[in-house]
Chain length 401, copies 2
């Protein structure tokens, strides 16, 4: 098999951990596999370097930040290569540039545009384990770029896609994706399989494991991901295309997102283009609007409600203060959270949403906003009921057993 493995910061957090990862890579190689290994910076390194830069500037130049931050992954790649060589495994370390990763020009959050796999393939063909510094590439003018936080996952998935690898194993300190956050519901179980779309909807459950951008890319490139722990030999969770097996499962997981704030604009003049104006202004300020609800108009005005991450509320206030068009009043509510029920089985089973609404009602939990998709029901509720809602839903969809 051709396997791409990616080891995150805690997996390579110290010299002993790098040694352990080398052992894992060596075993996979000796089992007859071809291997590309993508590594993050040792945990703490990137934050240390960011701290250094912030000593000098609140807004350090992004180009220089990329030059700075890309150094951490190079160190890990070199050290892991050396550790492998010492174990008798022929290994070669590569920077993002050497691995052929070409990005666009956007420093600190570049997108991978293409991967020239010539060098990687040549080294694989000669029997070497290729160790690649994750999180980085170069753009067409030869500048070093980085892919944003969690960028090593992107590097791994993109390389797996470009090489048409059999699997992309993403290693962290968590052994997979759970049906809900085990800190909220100890009965949460690790899933064996989950579809890309479910994973995207359950983003908060996977936050520590892999970032949504890499799931999106994996879906686009049809890369099969296995999320595993580098601290155990547990099986992990497969993230792949929907299968018949998956569709038998009604609900896969329950996610809770407490980083939510609700904004309600009341008595907005109901004329065409108003919503577009408002949300364009917010988008221009990189404010991520999640759920949007507009009530039917009665007296020529309407109420427009939407949610945004709490951390973006201050900026949203500024944008709204500058709106040129008429509205009666605006409410902000930081005391809300979003509970989501996710599962591909919902496509072919009716009544999933109704079941959620009725069980929450039975527990006297008021639903303030609702948004649904083919595989998801999300509800905005009072923040203090978040954990209760998760446990209640986890139980009612038989995820406890």
């Amino acid at each position: 098999m051709l396997i791409v493995q990616k080891y995150g910061g805690t997996s390579v957090g110290g010299l002993d951990r790098i040694e352990s990862v080398a052992g894992r890579v060596a075993k996979a190689k000796r089992d007859g596999n071809s291997l590309v290994v993508v590594v993050s910076a040792m945990s703490g390194e990137t934050n240390k370097l960011v701290g250094y830069a912030q000593h000098f500037s609140k807004t350090p130049a992004k180009r220089e930040m990329d030059m700075l931050l890309s150094s951490g992954e190079r160190v890990t790649a070199a050290l892991l290569s050396i550790a492998l060589q010492e174990m008798g495994i022929d290994a070669v370390g590569m920077t993002g540039r050497q691995a052929g990763i070409l990005t666009d020009i956007n420093h600190t959050y570049a997108r991978i545009e293409s991967i020239d796999t010539t060098t990687i393939k040549r080294e694989l063909d000669s029997g070497k384990v290729v160790v690649v510094a994750g999180f980085q590439g170069i753009n067409t003018t030869g500048q070093v770029t980085t892919l944003g936080r969690g960028g090593s996952d992107l590097s791994a998935v993109a390389i797996a896609g470009a090489l048409d690898a059999d699997v992309c194993e993403i290693y962290s300190d968590v052994d997979g994706i759970y049906t809900t956050d085990p800190r909220i519901e100890p009965k949460a179980k690790k899933m064996d399989f989950i579809s890309y779309d479910e994973m995207l909807e359950l983003a908060s459950l996977g936050a520590k494991v892999l970032q949504n951008r890499s799931v999106e890319l994996a879906k686009k490139l049809s890369v099969k991901i296995v999320a595993k722990s580098s601290f155990s030999d547990a099986e992990g969770t497969v993230i792949s295309k929907e299968s018949e097996e998956m569709e038998e499962v009604l609900v896969s997981g329950i996610a809770l997102d407490k980083n939510q704030a609700r904004v309600t604009l009341r008595e907005v003049m109901d004329r065409p283009g108003i919503a577009a104006e408002i949300f364009t202004s917010l988008a221009d300020e990189q404010i991520n609007v999640d759920m949007i609800i507009q009530n039917a108009s009665t007296d020529g005005t309407t109420n427009l409600g939407f949610t945004i991450p709490s951390s973006e509320l201050e900026r949203a206030r500024e944008v709204i203060a500058n709106f040129s068009h008429d509205y009666g009043a605006v409410d902000y509510d930081e005391g809300v959270c979003k509970v989501s029920v996710v599962g591909v089985g919902m496509k072919s089973h009716s009544g999933v949403a109704a079941k959620a609404f009725s069980i929450l009602a039975k527990n006297n939990i008021n639903i303030e906003m609702i948004s649904t998709s083919e595989i998801k029901v999300s509800m905005i509720i009072d923040e203090k009921y978040g954990e209760l809602a998760v446990r209640t839903l986890h139980s009612v969809y038989d995820l406890d057993s």
Copy 2:
């Protein structure tokens, strides 16, 4: 003026130090100069990374060591650029690759083959301060290479040569070159000028300031160096071509090298080619032979004496044990040191050497070996008299005043 500045490890040893260097660079820029600044890794970083690698292997692959070690200079270059930008100075950080530094293929001790100054010149022309990560380049196959310890000096001198800069300022924590080691003779004085050749002969006096390889390169490229301290505003020492001014000074400095061992092969069969064989064998093992003395042959055999660095004595013993040709006996003496009197003025003044011999004799210091060049007299003496010899010579050549 077009100035290349190079800041060594202690000069950029912490965030406060980098800030201080940024202030110095900013001032030079505001004074109207064009500036390329070459930086080393923060002091301790390179040793830390070497230690990491040695955790895994006693003999880590050189290619991966270069990938590892080159990261330290990138960090400093990025941080200094950010610090300068914050001070309102337009600065751009560059890796060795981006600065156009092309080397041969020898990892960990590569030689600079050429510098493509296109990018540096373009940035200088647009008014930017160019900050370059020292110690590194790439070879023709795109691999990252490093230039060996002290390699940032080489980067700076090579860039200064390629740009035809007015001066290359090498900053360290020492404010110049002294007439002798001030720890041995407190009356030692800082020199204002010294020629390349004198500097090369006084290597041990400049060891903490700049490496001989960079002095050789500076001589070859006619780059004027100023060795200065980044911790003070003292003037520093100019290292350049000989000038008439210099030749008026009889003796520039006195150097002491305690890292010396003497080897004497007795009763070597005196036939053509023997010396060549012996020294070729030693050179093949990278043993640096310094002084060589062969006595006139009397009975068809000769005594062959030479000195090598003490640290290479063990390897020399092995080489000599394997000599195929006849000799009577071999002596090794680690208890010796080399005292050198250096000055371009010696070219045009006779009696300099005689003065050294007689003052040492007057102090009952026996001279075991002598080697002279146009601008140097070196003497091998008993190690315990080293400091006394230095102080005596420093005084007799009027360097104390």
